[in-house]
């Protein structure tokens, strides 16, 4: 096993060079460079255009440019952005983190909803709830995210007209000013129900444990959701009354900023989540149907096992194996951003930055992002393989 891991890690090195060299060549093969668009500016003369190319090192032969970039990478330096004139990491770092908020929340939402629905659909195959989920899944797959994002924006404007309150945000990730007073009052109203909910679910949990039964999925979800909300509301309850009614975002306490970001993320996560949800739901259903028709399930049923045990212990555990193996594949997706919806809903993620970099041919920003994605993809693959060996006893590496 140890030997296998070392071998896999060593294989990453040539893959890395190959992938980055290819990316570098593809970017350079596209016509034009960073300076090209300035050539159509009537106030720029030939001399200053040539000067700029020379200063940015764009006039050097490709192998030299690649070697320079590579020697930086080996020292952990991603290069200098041509348009920002600063470190590539300082250009993309914050944006990757912003995108991660969306991607992590959307992934959680997808897995928490898709797996139970998939299982349900498989067990009740061809009933009307199954058909409803199927139709919804195809709708979710068919609507492009960026378009759904625009619909969401107009829904937000419409809702605020209807109620005269800002129920959904009009794009963006934060507000310029946070209404701490409103937040505190909302927390004061919402805290008691959250606390009661937490206590109810905790009671149910305790009750099942007393009877030596495992808690159901629903109890777990309820406990976590209510418990987290109650915990989050503790801060505004304790700190809120002493704070001013309104503060600029940058001067607000952490809990207020986090709440504000979560509020802005809500519609975007719904948009990002739906398409992934739809796909995963269908895959889960198919997997489950596959496993349910296996011989060992028939055996389990024949020996008189409870249907719950058959489904959750024998079928589900086998059906989720491909998902566990896929977790490694999520790693590069984490920094890849949530796609065009970030542009339409003005989320300051990595996608708008990448699109700007591509249209300006800011090579080192593009290369920096490709490098990080490549490395994460390679690590993710190794992790996937190891996880697979861990959950599936039939697979062994030697």
């Amino acid at each position: 096993m140890f030997g296998y891991v070392v071998r896999r890690l060593l294989q990453l090195i040539p893959t890395f060079f190959g992938a980055t060299l290819l990316a570098f060549l593809v970017i350079q093969l596209a016509p034009g460079d960073f300076v090209t668009r300035l050539e159509l500016d009537p106030t720029q003369d030939r001399e200053s255009i040539a000067n700029l190319r020379q200063q940015l090192g764009l006039d050097q032969p490709l192998p030299v440019q690649y070697a320079k970039w590579l020697s930086g990478i080996l020292q952990g330096y991603l290069g200098l952005s041509l348009s920002y004139k600063s470190d590539v990491w300082s250009v993309i770092g914050q944006r990757i983190l912003n995108s991660m908020v969306l991607v992590v929340l959307a992934t959680l939402m997808i897995y928490l909803i898709a797996i139970p629905i998939g299982v349900y659909s498989a067990i009740r195959k061809y009933t009307w709830p199954d058909r409803t989920f199927t139709v919804l899944a195809f709708l979710g797959l068919a609507i492009p995210n960026f378009f759904f994002g625009l619909i969401m924006l107009f829904l937000a404007v419409w809702l605020s007209d209807l109620t005269n309150m800002r129920i959904l945000p009009i794009g963006g990730m934060t507000n310029e000013f946070l209404h701490l007073g409103n937040m505190t009052r909302a927390a004061q109203i919402l805290f008691p129900p959250a606390l009661i909910g937490t206590l109810v679910f905790a009671g149910m949990f305790w009750w099942r444990v007393q009877r030596k039964q495992a808690a159901t999925f629903g109890i777990w979800v309820g406990l976590v959701l209510f418990g987290m909300s109650a915990l989050l509301m503790l801060w505004p309850l304790l700190q809120g009354p002493g704070l001013p009614e309104r503060l600029p975002y940058t001067e607000s306490p952490l809990w207020a900023r986090a709440t504000n970001v979560l509020w802005h993320a809500f519609p975007v996560v719904i948009v990002v989540g739906t398409s992934g949800l739809a796909g995963l739901m269908r895959v889960m259903r198919g997997q489950m149907l596959d496993v349910l028709s296996q011989d060992y399930i028939r055996t389990a049923r024949a020996k008189g096992l409870n249907e719950r045990v058959v489904i959750y212990k024998h079928a589900l555990r086998n059906a989720v194996i491909p998902f566990i193996a896929g977790i490694g594949g999520l790693l590069p997706g984490l920094i890849g951003g949530a796609g065009l919806v970030e542009v339409t809903m003005a989320w300051p993620g990595i996608t708008p930055a990448l699109l700007e970099a591509i249209s300006a041919i800011d090579i080192y920003v593009i290369m920096g992002l490709i490098t990080i994605t490549t490395v994460l993809l390679m690590i993710g693959n190794v992790v996937s393989d190891l996880l697979l060996a861990w959950v599936d006893p039939r697979i062994r590496y030697s």
């Binding site: 596209a30 016509p31 034009g32 460079d33 090209t36 668009r37 300035l38 050539e39 159509l40 500016d41 009537p42 106030t43 720029q44 003369d45 030939r46 200053s48 255009i49 000067n51 700029l52 200063q55 348009s83 920002y84 004139k85 600063s86 300082s90 914050q94 944006r95 912003n98 625009l150 924006l153 107009f154 937000a156 404007v157 605020s160 007209d161 009009i170 794009g171 963006g172 990730m173 934060t174 310029e176 600029p248 975002y249 940058t250 542009v343 339409t344 809903m345 003005a346 989320w347 300051p348 993620g349 708008p352 930055a353 700007e356 041919i361």
Partner: protein, 577 residues
């Protein structure tokens, strides 16, 4: 006693601002309030020597001073940091007097050292500032020297008409000086986006307060600013100025419709309709001014006079051919279809909003397929072949490729309309959108033998107020002499008489100081271009500004223009509520 103290302080404050700039607003305003606009992309830097795009310079212009600019009411030169000037030596020397008592936000005086230092750095070839062209005239440097603490002097190698427009940004020498002496790289690393906002010193109406990447830039009033209104109250009135970064036009519209942005420029008729509908439904207290002006940029078709194919080269060089092509441009349909009914036909190179130089009295080869057919027949294309294309006596088909840059919907539609009309009369036009950078390469990079490999390109150039700044397009050896490009900075090999005339007019226009004479020169220039059509102009998209009614100090409808926008000065905009 207390009163006396306050009075004394006020007197002192008055002394400190001995020579403030008076900003004449459209109505008396009051201090306070916030101004929020949307911006399509993040700034790249706060450093004026590095900045190259409007997303950066729009913000830098709010916190760094410059000597002079255009008066928003008359378009004549107007002093900003320069209080006054004096032209000597038949225009070869200009002496600028600075405002005494002007201060940076950190309390240091803004004086001649700052101005001379900034000029030196902008002119430095190693720095390659975007303003470098303001310091070179036909390859010779413009020299800036200090006369005394509040006087600077500019010496020009020849008389230069735009000499009084000095809009390059002035930086605090005490911040940039040490870095510049340490090296160009240190200078360029200053004031990047990671620099704490408090360290970015301001000499303009606002100063940087905070920047959240991808979200917003916030500026606040600079209390040390050297401007006042007509009643001697300090400006800017606004307390806070926010750029919200929204990279999508529809999302920008949504912000405006929700009342979260104060101004908006509708890009097309659909957006205008949405704003109007919301105003009529009483959901938004705002005003919109559709088609109140057109934008400064120009769109045109250019034919390649340096073609490998000698048949095409000689065809494109025929003025009759170009006039025939102009006759095939259905500008009415272009406005209807490509611009959604909002825009104007353009006939000559100077942008329509540029009232100081624009003339409508030029030759117009209006849409007329019959005239086009007749002109083409005069060139020998009298019969059609089996496929219905025009051919000449030798059986050569009248055909060419037309390209424009992919993704620009307006240009793509204009090109399609032109193609369809041309094909109707038998001119075989093949239209194809291509990548922008590839298009620029075809246009600006001739092969070793001086030929270029395109037939016709539909492209646009940004416009400005000063025609002399477009000399790279019109002078014979210009780098953007797009139809007939010379190699290596030299004149093209074969030149038509009218091109020499344009070159002469441009050179005279740039060196004539009398405004009336200048206008005459540029009027003649527009006539020559419209007559000979080296570039065939198409249509100009409309400027459709909108604003919330909570803003005061804005232009009334008649005065709105796409050069200044909706208000004369940012300093005199205020919040009514």
């Amino acid at each position: 006693m207390k009163k006396l103290l306050v009075l004394g302080m006020l007197a002192l404050a008055g002394l400190a601002l001995a020579q403030p700039k008076v900003f004449k607003g459209t109505e008396p305003g009051r201090a306070g309030g916030a101004y929020r606009i949307t911006s399509i992309s993040d700034p790249r830097t706060w450093n004026p020597f590095v900045a190259r795009e409007t997303s950066s310079t729009d913000i830098i212009a709010l916190f760094l001073p410059y000597l002079t600019t255009y008066d928003p009411y008359t378009q004549a030169p107007e002093g900003r940091l320069a209080k006054s000037w004096e032209v000597r030596n038949n225009g070869l020397t200009v002496i600028f007097k600075l405002r005494e008592g002007a201060k940076w936000s950190d309390g240091q005086a803004i004086d001649a050292d700052d101005v001379i230092f900034s000029a030196t750095v902008h002119a430095d070839q190693r720095v390659n500032s975007n303003s470098r062209s303001s310091f070179i005239l036909d390859g010779q440097p413009i020299r800036w020297t200090k006369v005394d603490q509040f006087t600077v002097r500019a010496d020009f190698p020849k008389p230069y008409a735009p000499a009084l427009i000095q809009g390059w940004y002035i930086v605090p020498e005490h911040v940039f000086g040490p870095a510049y002496r340490a090296g160009v790289q240190q200078l360029q690393a200053l004031w990047n986006l990671d620099t704490p906002a408090a360290q970015v010193v301001s000499g303009g109406p606002f100063k940087l307060d905070s920047y959240v990447k991808g979200e917003r830039v916030v500026l606040v009033r600079n209390p040390n600013y050297w401007g006042v209104d007509e009643r001697n109250n300090p400006v800017a009135y606004l307390e806070r100025y926010t750029f919200q970064i929204v990279p999508d036009l529809n999302a920008q519209l949504a912000r405006f419709l929700a009342g979260e942005a104060d101004t908006f420029a509708a890009a097309n008729a659909d957006q205008v309709a949405q704003v109007l509908e919301r105003i009529r439904a009483n959901r938004l207290r705002a005003e919109i001014f559709p088609n109140v002006d057109v934008t400064l940029g120009t769109n045109f078709i250019v034919f390649n006079w340096n073609h490998k194919d000698s048949f095409k080269e000689s065809l494109f060089r025929q003025v009759k051919f170009r006039r025939a092509m102009a006759h095939l441009m259905d500008k009415k349909s272009m406005i209807e279809v490509a611009l959604g009914g909002l825009g104007q036909a353009q006939w000559s190179p100077i942008s329509i909003p540029n009232k100081a130089f624009f003339t409508d009295d030029v030759a117009k080869f209006e849409f007329s397929p019959q005239k086009a057919v007749q002109l083409l027949a005069e060139l020998g294309f009298r019969s059609k072949n089996r496929d219905g294309w025009l051919v000449n006596a030798q059986g050569k088909v009248l055909e060419f490729n037309l390209v424009t840059n992919q993704g620009n919907n307006v240009r793509e539609r204009i090109a399609q309309i032109f193609r369809d009309e041309a094909r109707k009369v038998g001119v075989k036009v093949e239209y194809r959108p291509i990548d922008f950078n590839e298009l620029v390469r075809q246009l600006t990079s001739p092969a070793a033998d001086g030929t270029r490999d395109f037939d016709a390109i539909l492209i646009g150039l940004t416009g400005g107020i000063e025609p002399a700044f477009s000399r790279n397009v019109w002078e014979l050896n210009g780098s953007l002499h797009a139809w007939n490009l010379g190699t290596g900075g030299k004149n093209p090999a074969k030149v038509e008489a009218f091109e020499v005339l344009i070159d002469t007019l441009m050179k005279r226009g740039a060196t004539t100081l009398d405004q009336a004479q200048r206008r005459q020169i540029y009027v003649q220039f527009q006539k020559v271009v419209a007559e000979n059509l080296p570039l065939i102009y198409t249509v100009a998209p409309a400027y459709n500004p909108a604003r919330l009614t909570r803003l005061g100090g804005m232009f009334p409808k008649e005065q709105i223009n796409s050069i200044n926008g909706q208000a004369p000065y940012i300093e005199t905009i205020f919040a009514k509520e």
